[in-house]
């Protein structure tokens, strides 16, 4: 009887799995980041150009400080690299903490080609206690379009009246008039004589 009771308790212990019973705190640590290049608005760069992109973080309204991890999932053949920290403490309400990504388009990149870098931002979870903690993240394509070297737009062409050319013909005309006048006078004088 006693053995059976112990066995029953064991069985009971085995069957009873205690997971987290806690109703979870409804706090939602969250964040965002301004990303200059995205699928509908790819960034335009020319071959050989190097540019630093800053991506300022935000926290969601009413949220506290968050810790964020920045990763480069695809550096597009080594053209992109994270500069500085890849983990950040973002104070609530701040827009002054930036992730930095440096991109260098290869010198021989073809105009019209598209290069895609892939980046990821993850929330570093705080200690959630005896629960199944979640780490939200978002992954973004960071597309770059290779364009030709920027050419300074030509100044609107001003129609210039060519003073020199006009004057040349005017002078020739004047000389011809004088020659005609002299000839006329000479003929007139000859007739008088």
């Amino acid at each position: 009887m006693g053995k059976n009771r112990i066995s029953a308790i064991r069985t009971l212990r085995l069957v009873l799995i205690v997971l987290s019973v806690f109703i979870l705190i409804s706090r939602a640590d969250s964040f965002g980041a301004s990303i200059a290049c995205a699928p509908q608005t790819p960034c335009l760069m020319h071959a050989g150009e190097e540019r630093m992109f800053s991506m300022p973080f935000q926290t969601s309204p009413g949220e506290g400080d968050v810790r964020v991890k920045f990763e480069l999932l695809d550096d597009a053949g080594g053209i992109a690299q994270i500069v500085g920290d890849n983990e950040f403490l973002v104070p609530a309400g701040s827009e002054n903490v930036n992730a930095k990504l440096k991109v260098k388009i290869p010198d021989g990149a073809n105009v019209g080609s598209n290069i895609n870098v892939v980046i990821k931002f993850s929330l570093i979870p705080s200690n959630n206690g005896g629960q199944v903690g979640l780490s939200p993240s978002f992954t973004m394509n960071f597309p770059l379009s290779v364009v030709g070297e920027e050419v300074a737009p030509a100044a609107p062409s001003e129609r210039k009246v060519s003073g020199a050319g006009t004057m040349f013909f005017f002078a020739i005309g004047l000389i011809l008039v004088v020659l005609v006048a002299i000839t006329f006078v000479l003929i007139k004088n000859k007739n008088k004589q």
Binding site: L16, I17, V21, L24, T41, S135, F138, A164
Partner: protein, 295 residues
């Protein structure tokens, strides 16, 4: 005699002028510069003109409205007194993004300075977090007191992408489970809100085996996740990114029911019979928080 002298002097002068002109012409010296010039003849009221529109591209503020300052200058040849300040107006729109003309508009712009014929205006437009990122047309208009109007739509505003998915709660929990009982739903539905201006078409969950306090695991493969209420659909695997069938997180106005939102239902379908009775948690030794990624 006088006539002859006058004639000769005249001929010499004409020849001198001709030679000077000829030489200057041959050596490329402009004696007279002909420049284009504008002649405006003002008859009655002239329509105003909006010469410049300036602003800075910015992104969304998560869950809120971003005020965008737009400056423009309007010129009226009849003087700035002829401009009707009350008609100064700016709007931002892109119908293909669901933001039609008239939706994001400011009709009460303030003027910030003026000269004789030009007046500067500043208008503030509120762009919402649920206005999708991308290029928007900026349309500035003003009328004069005679009812003539000026319009400028030459500039595009780039509403910079700001992804901002928010999930709550930040952890999942279950009431005590008996091993013989199957299909145990989590205490809470995982709700994801899109507080930014970027659409997400994929939601991926990466689960990890859940270590017991001291010993044992509840394996990731015992869990399922779905956008449907129930213990069906996608079964997870340890340290494996699993795309959730049908899940996405579109941009949306969160004050509208179900807009900009996704719900995920987690379930423990069953537990191995040899699982020890203890507390299991990702925060136990050897545990890892589960990832939920939006892309």
């Amino acid at each position: 005699m006088v006539r002859k002298i006058t004639f000769v002097v005249g001929i010499i002068l004409v020849i001198a002028v001709a030679v000077v002109i000829l030489l200057s012409s041959l050596f490329g010296i402009d004696l007279v510069q002909f420049s284009p010039f504008n002649v405006s003849v003002q008859v009655g009221n002239s329509p105003p003109v909006i010469n410049s529109v300036d602003f800075t591209d910015v992104g969304a503020i998560l869950g809120e409205v971003r005020n965008v300052s737009i400056n423009f200058s309007a010129m009226d040849l009849n003087g700035v007194g002829n401009l009707n300040d009350l008609t100064a107006r700016v709007e931002i729109y892109n119908s293909s993004k669901g933001v039609a003309p008239g939706m994001r508009v400011n009709s009460s712009c303030s003027f910030t300075g003026s000269s004789a014929n030009t007046r500067n205006y500043t208008c503030t437009i509120g762009m919402w977090y649920f206005d999708p990122y991308g290029y928007y047309i900026v349309n500035a208009t003003i009328a004069d007191n005679g009812g003539l109007t000026a319009e400028n739509s030459s500039k595009l505003f780039n509403y910079i992408p700001v992804p901002g998915p928010v999930v709550y709660p930040n952890a999942l929990g279950w009431d005590p489970i008996t091993v013989s009982v199957i299909n145990n739903m989590s205490n809470d539905v995982l709700v994801s809100n899109n507080t930014g201006n970027v659409n997400f078409t994929n939601v991926v969950v990466t689960a990890y085996d859940l270590p017991g306090e001291g010993s044992g695991f509840i394996y990731a493969g015992n869990f399922s996740v779905s956008i449907l209420n129930g213990c069906s659909e996608d079964i997870m695997a340890n340290s494996t990114a699993l795309g959730i069938t049908g899940a996405g997180l579109p941009v949306g106005n969160l004050s509208i029911v179900d807009a900009g939102q996704e719900k995920l239902y987690f379930c423990i379908k069953a537990i191995n019979l040899d699982t020890p009775a203890t507390t299991f948690s990702s925060s136990n030794t050897g545990g890892t928080s589960w990832g939920i990624d939006f892309s």
